[in-house]
């Protein structure tokens, strides 16, 4: 049996991804407002679900509430996919997302209880980006395009483009880790600046290869253009955030320009990683037999023995 497109499921996955992006923004606001320890206890806030919403508590408690909503939405996604999804690997990815969101919640709690230890804070920031990317991938896997896209003939050029697309996504992940390490005071700015240069070169080069490998696949083209735009925006936002921080070094409290530029940089970073990952997946979907086999589609092209149909 083959996977079928479910508009409701796809929209729900999209809503979960959108809520996760909102959660990332809320988390960024916590750090930028230096509010991570404004609520000294966890999992409750001041021993209750309704703490006094003043000052830094507004950011920290809102972050916790949105995190709870994302956690519940992820459980909903797992249940929905568990009941209806025929591709076992998609179900497994959903379970992984649930495990990640729980681990992420625990990491968030540890940051509070252990007064923001840098490795835990950096792990919390990185995990957030990975979780968002995973949910974004589930949006792609449940899309009509993924389920119906026609494969292209595999060539050396497509294999090369796909390899580069994967390495670009991994490079962006490494760059986000460097950014988190700078933000949490573990590393200076230099590695993150060098990383930005590397990401710019990698995305430009990969973009060329992808354009040649799949020139007529609208989804791949859209993701490629979106990725280039995001990388450009991200570099401008990063420079802006850095300028705001340097300009306000004497400030005795976080100022709006520092906060919003940094949070926008963080959110754009998450979108960049997700888009780079989706670009790789979309390319893989149309240019390699792996993706075709694993969608459980194209029975006419591939014999049923090669398909992973999941539950029958």
């Amino acid at each position: 049996m083959h996977a079928q497109y479910s508009p409701g499921l796809h929209r729900y996955a999209f809503a979960t991804a959108a809520a996760t992006l909102l959660l990332l923004v809320a988390g960024g606001l916590v750090t930028s407002n230096d509010a991570g320890l404004s609520v000294p206890d966890w999992p409750l806030s001041y021993g209750s679900l309704f703490p006094p919403m003043v000052g830094g508590i507004v950011y920290e408690h809102s972050h916790r509430v949105i995190a709870a909503v994302v956690g519940l939405m992820t459980i909903g996604l797992v249940v929905w996919l568990g009941r209806t999804e025929r591709r076992a690997w998609v179900r497994r990815l959903a379970y992984t997302a649930l495990a990640l969101v729980i681990l992420q919640g625990v990491l968030g709690g540890l940051t509070v209880l252990f007064y923001l230890p840098r490795p835990v804070s950096i792990a919390h920031a990185t995990m957030a980006q990975i979780f968002f990317t995973l949910v974004a991938a589930l949006v792609l896997f449940t899309s009509r395009w993924w389920l119906t896209a026609a494969p292209l003939p595999t060539s050396e050029a497509s294999r090369r483009a796909e390899r580069f697309a994967l390495w670009t996504a991994l490079l962006i992940l490494a760059q986000l880790i460097l950014g988190a390490a700078y933000r949490h005071g573990w590393l200076g700015i230099t590695p993150h600046l060098l990383g930005a240069g590397a990401v710019l070169i990698a995305t430009s080069w990969t973009g060329r290869l992808v354009r040649r490998a799949a020139p007529a696949v609208a989804m791949v083209t859209r993701l490629r253009i979106l990725l280039s735009s995001l990388v450009g925006t991200q570099i401008l936002l990063g420079l802006g955030a850095w300028w705001a921080v340097v300009r306000n070094q004497q400030a005795l409290q976080p100022l709006p320009e520092m906060i919003w530029l940094t949070v926008a940089h963080l959110a754009c970073g998450a979108l960049t990683l997700a888009t780079a990952t989706l670009q790789w997946l979309a390319l893989r979907r149309v240019t390699t037999s792996w993706a075709v086999d694993r969608t459980g589609l194209h029975a006419a092209v591939y014999p049923p023995a090669l398909q992973e149909g999941g539950r029958q």
Binding site: V39, W42, I102
Partner: protein, 257 residues
């Protein structure tokens, strides 16, 4: 179906298990750091080091604080609130400098300080901004405001803690066991709130007022390294040799940009 039910169940157990982990064990307040029973100060030979801490140059302009994150704080200040990190007096004296004997008292023992020192939160600001206490000396933290504060000292060698205090809530009393000059204290609810607590193992220290002057009385004869610590300008030291019943005058100068 079974697999995903199992995973959800496992995740729930993990999540609830983590709740049970509870808060990090707070290390008990250890006994203050005091040298093993040793010499005591003989008042018959003790002397005094006094002096002034000066600032030369142009002090940085006052920084305006934005308290609009908490209406209760903003209400308390009808006009703009500013902070001068470098506070100078009329004669160039520098305020809020901790002057203390850094070296030279090794081998002496001193009776513990038991009188509590108050750190108030008033107008969503710490009062005073710079505080000096003995190791083990109780610090009474008061919240005079109509809003919640959290008190979060960020020491390097002492035990870190973070506690909340409701509006006009009960006093929090704590102390620091090890010498540390100085521990930054923050309120993460109101990020503009900042204080510093200098913790010193002996009684020879003072925080300067606007005149910048200090006086360390009843010091036994000896050679001392005196340090002046300022929250923004850093530290500067001087060596002073004090004879029996002698009074020495010292001047510290911090250079502005």
């Amino acid at each position: 179906m079974k697999a995903h039910v199992l995973l959800i169940l496992l995740s729930a157990i993990l999540a609830f298990g983590s709740l049970g982990c509870g808060k990090k064990e707070e290390a008990p307040t250890t006994a203050p750091e005091t040298p093993a029973a040793g010499k005591t100060v003989d008042p018959a030979t003790a002397g005094t080091i006094s002096g002034i801490v000066k600032f030369t140059g142009t002090p940085p302009p006052p920084v305006r604080l934005r308290m609009d994150a908490d209406a209760a704080c903003a209400r308390l200040h009808p006009g703009p609130v500013t902070v001068r990190e470098v506070e100078t007096g009329a004669n160039g004296g520098l305020a809020r400098v901790v002057v203390y004997v850094k070296e030279g008292l090794e081998g002496y023992t001193f009776p513990p300080a038991t009188e509590a020192i108050e750190l108030d939160q008033e107008g969503c600001m710490y009062q005073p901004r710079v505080l000096a206490v003995r190791t083990g000396q109780p610090i009474e933290i008061v919240n005079s405001d109509d809003t919640t504060h959290n008190i979060h000292p960020i020491p390097k060698v002492n035990r870190e803690w973070n506690r909340s205090q409701p509006p006009k809530g009960e006093k929090i009393v704590d102390s620091f066991a090890r010498q540390e000059v100085a521990i930054p204290v923050k309120c993460n609810i109101h990020p503009w709130m900042q204080a510093y607590i200098a913790v010193i193992a002996h009684p020879y220290f003072q925080v300067t007022g606007e005149a910048g002057t200090f006086e360390l009385k009843n010091l036994p004869p000896g050679t001392y390294t005196l340090e002046a610590w300022h929250e923004k300008l850093g530290t500067t030291t001087q060596q002073v040799t004090l004879g029996p019943n002698e009074t020495k005058t010292v001047e510290f100068v911090f250079q502005g940009s």
